[in-house]
Symmetry: C2
Amino acid sequence: MTRQILIGMHLGNGYGNLPGAWRAPAVDPTSYTSFDAKVRHAQAAERGKLQFLFLPDGPTHVGDIANEPPNFNLDVMVTLAAIARETSHIGLVATGSTTFNEPFNLARQFKALDVLSHGRTGWNAVTSSGEDVAANYGQHIPSSPERYGRAHETVQLVQALWGSWGETAWVHDKATGRFADPEQVAPISLGGEYVASRGPLYIPPSEQGQPVVFHAGGSPNAHEFAGRWANAVIGAAFTIDDARAQRAAFREAAKRAGRNPDEIKFFAGLMTTITADKREGLDRRITLSGRTFPQRAAYLGRMLGLYLDPARLDEPLSAAQLSEARPSPGDPRSVHALKIARQGWTVRDILAHGVIDYHPVIVGPAAEAADHMQEWFEADAVDGFWVSPDIYDGGVDAFVDGVVPILQDRGLFHREYDGATLRDHLGAPAQYGVDPRITR
Amino acid sequence: MTRQILIGMHLGNGYGNLPGAWRAPAVDPTSYTSFDAKVRHAQAAERGKLQFLFLPDGPTHVGDIANEPPNFNLDVMVTLAAIARETSHIGLVATGSTTFNEPFNLARQFKALDVLSHGRTGWNAVTSSGEDVAANYGQHIPSSPERYGRAHETVQLVQALWGSWGETAWVHDKATGRFADPEQVAPISLGGEYVASRGPLYIPPSEQGQPVVFHAGGSPNAHEFAGRWANAVIGAAFTIDDARAQRAAFREAAKRAGRNPDEIKFFAGLMTTITADKREGLDRRITLSGRTFPQRAAYLGRMLGLYLDPARLDEPLSAAQLSEARPSPGDPRSVHALKIARQGWTVRDILAHGVIDYHPVIVGPAAEAADHMQEWFEADAVDGFWVSPDIYDGGVDAFVDGVVPILQDRGLFHREYDGATLRDHLGAPAQYGVDPRITR
């Protein structure tokens, strides 16, 4: 079978990736607390046959609460449990920190969700690195070796707990009165330098055995962790070359761990404003994030080695500015920003293109997003994308009804779910308990 | 308004309180992992206008896994999140240990569930005392003063976090662009000997403000903890006198903490086998728990100061045995057991009455359960009951369709939910943040 693009949908605070998404006419301003809204967005993504939903987590808030919502869901597990009952195929992936959670609690909640969702759950196992997060637990962030040391131990304990009720342990045979096979329900009794657990965890396998492990990050520590334990990486890259290099680094790490590199999928971020024409998209972005543009103009200027006057957003860069501009070698976004500037857009419109956002931004017709995805995919830069719409109400539909059919017509995206579990969707191999190919 | 009985329904492993409940003809043997089953049982309880569901938690398993299911839900929060979307009024109460959870994680999940359920959540804040639970966290159980010290700190941090996004902080006014009032979103920066958190927790109030605190336990530590922090106590009592004394102790503790004692409700446990006649109920219990009767006969004998031959379960106690019997003063069940024995039942039938179960057991017509509840309630021994049916599939309905209408006809139980939140159902006072009447 030809390799096809895999797509996840970012579900954050319920509004979208624009700071003012909550003010968009189509958006319910109470989506932050509305589980109706979360379910609606999840169902829209499932209608598009997307492989998974991805719920990042801090847990903290970074931003300007007077004008912008918090970044994350109220609680990722509670949200996904609600969504699980009202969807049937789409994968459900949430971040769970290995730094500030007990392995037993992580193992239990993710496996319960995996059973509830009939095998659609993924755990984005990450270390926490923000002091604002640590402070919520009355702690400081441990050193990087400590954080990754604990992460490696935690994932092994969690996977061992997931396998501690054996694959065929659960008999539930009314006729014989045999509830479970006690030979297959065993403590794990594992302990390391940072965490320990006896177990067993009393949860039988889900339809996919156990949740799929994801990771996010770009450091050598992240490569090694994901190479050993993950089937998917939530990545961030601004250029094809960067994405290709990151993907290759994760694949090499998987090989070093004795795995088939095809078992680890690399997902680049993509932010979308899908509209009939680009002008409409730029105007929406100006309306919903223009408040931040004066500061962003200064930032854009620094990226290009120029001074940009925040009071003159309605002018394009002058010929003199364009010839003076020097893209910052430390910021991969700056080459793209200069390219947009050279097209003659005003500073306001350059910013509305999202040139200094966290991921590449597509503003305009669906075909532009499809082109971007095709180009990156065919350059072997990614296995897929995690897509973050500008606004969820309407924006998920715009992607699903606009971009997805184009990719399907080009043979780049599946038309139906072939299987029912997240492992099926990702082509992740069957696994139960700790991956036996990994030497501990 | 006349005081009426309050009723909660115990939701455990999905089967019921009999060890062999999973084998009953009406019961789905996969209920342990079936969220359809949990939702079905919750909806049945809601049809009966019960005030709340109560989900205890270990988390561990105690029992004979070859023949009996684990005691608890796969995960109480995941289960309640699923139930919340498919019920509208019934309260959702789960146990969360203060010993092995971070206050920030407890605060976040319970408040997210409270928002999801539109103000129907309760947190049964308990200390963990089992070494088998501690082992799942690679730890040992701390001393009692340490456990209750951490519990007192934890509940204060949790309630402070619940109030850290102010009651009117969330403006979400599209017209003005004001998302929240930053003056009302403040760190709590509380720390004690055991736990600390900076906060804030970024979750606005639910329809009831914040979750209701429950407690379970019977020690002086439990009285003091519940007296200060709880609006409800999940109790266990075998006699009216015992229940009355326990209720009084909690009420006195509330007074010592400067509270109105009516703000703390005491719930006694009640196990039910509701059948058209007693014989049918006894036979069901023999079928579904008779496997345990040989050992239980020996235990019953010790309670009565007798030797009971496990091979002679089909005989009643002889006249000589009845006159020799001495109820154990240390076991409040023994007087009741002897009363049943004197009625001439066989040993098997005495055991089928549930005389050595964890709570009083009603076996027989619905009116017997109603009589028991009325008698205890009118003796001021309880504010209500938490009911544990022998089997959930059918047993919840038997209670709801049999016992509830009798109590309603006697004016002892409400016919409709008067309000929409758990605080409404319990008559618990409004609260947001740490209870201001409590001196810290």
